[in-house]
């Protein structure tokens, strides 16, 4: 993953950049699969590797294949990125060890979901029951976000037709 990221930064050919980010998405999906987050892995593979690659390639068809040389120095952003990244990595030392069962997120509400889901909703996949039933209102919000985004993009792209 680090190699693909470096490749994305260094390369000036946008086609290779799109393909590398697809590879990055697939690696990310594999990583999520290892963490047993199958639903998220499926989403990452379908959205990150599938749809966004196609949309990027469509956009590339309308623009040039090669990125132009940057007109500004990138030292200051690099320093900011390194500092913030370093702080985040430093922050991970405060987290409990990976997979520990007695951490706060595993002791409060997730136990409740795991125990009550099958009796209350009769749905074996807890991810679905939480998303659709317990947090149905959140999911409604997400659908409205997708709706709003689609309306926004369409109204920008089809401006000249109306």
């Amino acid at each position: 993953m680090a190699l693909t990221t470096l490749g994305i930064i260094r390369l000036r050919n946008l086609f290779s950049v799109v393909i590398l980010s697809t590879i990055y998405s697939f690696l990310m999906a594999t990583l999520l699969l290892i963490f047993d987050a199958v639903d998220v892995a499926l989403t990452e593979a379908a959205v990150g590797a599938g749809i966004s690659t196609v949309l990027m390639l469509t956009v590339l068809y309308y623009t040039k294949m090669n990125e132009e040389k940057p007109r500004y120095r990138s030292v200051l952003p690099l320093i900011i990125c390194l500092v913030v990244g370093g702080l985040l990595i430093y922050g991970t030392y405060g987290l409990p060890p990976f997979g520990a069962a007695d951490t706060p997120i595993h002791t409060h509400i997730s136990v409740q979901y795991l125990e009550r889901s099958i009796n209350e909703t009769g749905v074996p996949n807890v991810v679905t029951s939480v998303l659709a039933s317990y947090r149905g209102f959140d999911t409604l919000g997400e659908v409205i976000v997708v709706f709003t985004a689609a309306i926004g993009v369409l109204s920008i792209l089809k401006r000249d037709k109306v």
Partner: protein, 139 residues
């Protein structure tokens, strides 16, 4: 269009399976990984593959753009109406226990209904955005 015979034939073979897999992910979301969002993206990918292989004109004839534009708000409506039905029966908004006599059945119906809403909105948005990009034409 003549040179890519292999691509056209193989994608013709693939397309039914992509659509079928989308419906599998949609309706099997209660039991395995997946749900409306993923299924919608997979379905949209099928339509986009069709557009890439057979050209925009043929695709827009077979899958008219208006249907997808219409699907964007339709999904949100399905979702909200499901919530309003349970509200009208005296339960909380989006409380699916109201949808059948037996709470678990109600939950099943409710989850399928709102996943359908998500599915419809996601297909509509993805394909509409793709068509909007493609329809601009090379300048």
């Amino acid at each position: 269009m003549r040179l890519d015979l292999l691509l056209r034939i193989s994608s013709k073979i693939f397309l039914p399976f992509i659509i079928l897999f989308a419906f599998y992910v949609q309706f099997h979301g209660d039991f395995g990984p997946g749900g409306g969002f993923q299924a919608g993206v997979i379905f949209a990918a099928g339509v986009i593959l069709y557009t890439i292989i057979f050209g925009v004109k043929k695709a827009q004839k077979d899958f008219p753009e208006k249907i997808f534009n219409f699907m964007v708000p339709l999904g949100v409506l399905i979702f909200t109406v499901t919530g309003l039905i349970s509200l009208s029966k005296g339960y909380n908004f989006l409380d699916y226990d109201a949808l059948a006599h037996y709470p678990k059945h109600g939950q099943h119906i409710g989850i399928i209904a709102i996943e359908l809403g998500v599915f419809v909105t996601v297909i509509g948005s993805m394909v509409s955005i793709f068509y909007a990009f493609v329809g601009r034409g090379k300048k």
